[in-house]
Every structure is written in structure tokens, then in C-alpha cells.
Amino acid sequence: MHLTCPLWVRRIPKIYRNNDPFYLRNLYLQFSFLFRGRSSRCFRLAEQRVIKAFQHMNAMRAVRKDRFKQLCDERIDAACAQHGIPGKMLIDGLGRMNIQLNRKMLQQLAIYEPYSFKSLTDLVKQYHSELGIVPPNAEPPAPVVTRGLLQSPIVPGNRKFYE
């Protein structure tokens, strides 16, 4: 007997159309494992909590990136304050000198490589002093030999100094 598609669909074994409510409820209950009280055992409560948990998860996706950035900024600021520089000045100065280390790397250097970080602050202080900007409450930087290269932009003529 030839059946049309809608009728043929009904003949598909039960595995394709699970009318048994167990399957849908089990879906949510497996996500509600280790929730508090009956929200982990009863579907009517678990459904609400699980949906709310998923909404929190979605909301945190964008927030997580911002929070990590704030953490990096805080750490860089604290490490720069030991050398008398605001954190923003470091990031701005390095960008102007075309040192493309991002915040994640700068905070790693600040934590685990303090002497390398100090050399970066010295570079930034030298750069700004060449322009006439002196950060207040800052120790004078260690002697920095620049050969006039800190201010020079990257142009095809001096590409040999930058690979």
C-alpha cells in the first residue's frame, strides 16, 4: 500500500517521534544534576532552573571577555605603579613604538618576568621624555640607548631595522 509522506511518517518507528514525555523531561533533568533540592529531581522545577542557568551562560559569554580585560588592566596598572607609570601610559606607549604585545602577555610578563617588564617601562619613559612628557612621581629611567629609533615610524626606508 502506497502511503503519502505524512502518513508514512507515522509509520516510522517510535525512535523518530518520541511522544513519550520521558525523553523531554530527562533532557532537562540531566542538566539539573547537582542543583539544589527538588530542582534536581522534579521536572517542573528543574525546567525553570535549567533554563535560567542557560540564560546565565549566554549572558556571561560577552561579560567574560570584558572581565578578563579588566583583570589584565588591573594587573598591568599595579605593576606599572611600582615603576611610577600609569597602566594606560604603558599600553599607549608600546602601541606607539609598535611593540605589539597584548594585555594578556603584558600581565604575564608583569607577574613572571619582572625585569623584562621593567625594561618595557623604561622604554616607555624614554619615549615620553623625548616628547617632553614626564610622568609625575616617576624615577628617572635606566639609561636607554635609542639611536633616535624610538620616534621614527616604520617606513620602507628603515625596514631593515624591523626585519
Binding site: 525523553y23 523531554l24 533532557l27 609598535n98 611593540i99 602577555m105 640607548v145
Partner: protein, 222 residues
């Protein structure tokens, strides 16, 4: 099994979709029709590697190495001719470079790889999230985009990168797998709107071998 595909497609039209088990795995099933009819009832929302075929992503041109740029990791060419030197060399730095011994400390390098930066030393594992490189397991790579190098007595910073002559950072591809499945669940209240998507992204793991430092090239650059 093509009829079954067609009917499933009709069933799972987006307008009538609810968060049924079939909806949960609709996308995965579409890509692997051979699994229809097999025991998938227990895989409703814990899809394993079985659901996903190995996908070869289109590698953007920035990652490709042209034939004339390709390096043999075993036969790196010698450094180029010395660049113009200027008076007033940093004697301290030059002596530090001379006395640098790779056995004393643990050098680190900051490497730019696939859009992200990693602080790397020997024996590190680096996981590239969401990326599947064309390199196969066991292939040796040379990471050329080195932003900074650090040793016990001195560090080198590139503006923005150090030259290839100074450094070679070698890595081998250790693992190419899928990440654990991630769930995206969209819900709008009072609108009867629920969507669940489960996706697994690729991940490759590199093991950093050695960071080799070319003294004459650095001294010439100084």
C-alpha cells in the same frame, strides 16, 4: 535512506520546532545520515565524536606558506649578510649575548600564532581553539612570528616582530581532536521560543620543542 532524510527535514522545520530530542541533534544528524536508525536515543544531548565528520576548514591565506617561502625545519638557511652597524653599541648587551648559554636558564618566547599570542618555553603545550591546521600529526612547525624573546640576563623585543634570523621556535603537532561539546540555548519568555544547539569545535595541540637563538645575527643587528 534518502526518504528518511526528506521526512525528517519536513518534521524539523524551524517553525514547528520544539526542544525535542530530535531538535537537539538535528544538525548533527543532517551531516551524518548514515547514523539514522541506529541507536542514538542515549546521545540526545551528549554527542560524541561519532556525530561529527572530520571537516577540513578553509585555511586563510595568512596561514599559508607559499612554496618559495617554505622552510625545511631541518635545514634552516644561514643568516643573511650583516646589516649596517652603528657606533655606540651596548657593550653590556653584547657581552650578555656572548655569555648567554642555553643550558643556564629557561628561555621564553612570545609567539603570535593564529591570531593569538602565547608565552612559550621548551616543553610547553599550546592549544589552538577552534582551529584545524592543515599540518598532520607529527609534523614539525617553525613558529616565525616571534614578538619577544627572554633569557636570564636580557630580553629582546621586536617592533613588531624579531627577524627570522635571530630565532627559531620549533613545535610539533601532537593532537588534533574535538573540544568537549558546547551548548547554546536561546530562550525568550512568553514567546514559546526555545532553541538548543550543540557544537563541537576543532582543537589542535602543539608541543614546543626548542627555542634556538642565533648569536651572530643578533650581534649584527645590535
Amino acid at each position: 535512506m534518502q526518504l528518511a532524510n526528506f521526512t525528517l527535514h519536513r518534521l524539523l522545520s524551524p517553525i514547528s520546532i520544539r526542544c525535542t530530542p530530535a531538535a537537539v541533534i538535528n544538525r548533527t544528524l543532517r551531516s551524518s545520515p548514515a547514523l539514522l536508525g541506529k541507536k542514538y536515543a542515549k546521545y540526545y544531548f551528549t554527542p560524541k565524536k561519532i556525530f561529527r565528520k572530520e571537516e577540513i576548514y578553509r585555511v586563510p591565506k595568512t596561514q599559508l606558506i607559499l612554496p618559495h617561502e617554505r622552510l625545511d625545519p631541518l635545514n634552516i638557511p644561514e643568516p643573511s649578510a650583516p646589516t649596517a652597524t652603528e657606533s655606540g653599541l651596548l657593550e653590556q648587551l653584547a657581552s650578555a649575548v656572548n655569555h648567554e648559554q642555553s643550558t643556564s636558564g629557561r628561555p621564553f618566547a612570545i609567539v603570535h600564532l593564529v591570531g593569538k599570542q602565547y608565552k612559550v618555553s621548551e616543553g610547553d603545550l599550546v592549544q589552538l581553539v577552534g582551529k584545524s591546521l592543515l599540518a598532520e600529526l607529527g609534523d614539525e612547525l617553525v613558529l616565525e612570528k616571534v614578538l619577544a624573546l627572554g633569557f636570564t640576563d636580557f630580553t629582546l623585543y621586536g617592533r613588531p616582530m624579531l627577524s627570522r634570523d635571530c630565532v627559531t621556535v620549533r613545535a610539533t603537532v601532537v593532537e588534533k581532536t574535538l573540544e568537549p561539546p558546547k551548548i547554546r540555548f536561546e530562550f525568550r519568555k512568553r514567546q514559546n521560543f526555545r532553541r538548543m544547539n550543540i557544537h563541537q569545535t576543532n582543537a589542535t595541540v602543539l608541543r614546543i620543542g626548542s627555542i634556538e637563538f642565533n648569536k651572530p645575527a643578533v650581534q649584527q643587528a645590535l
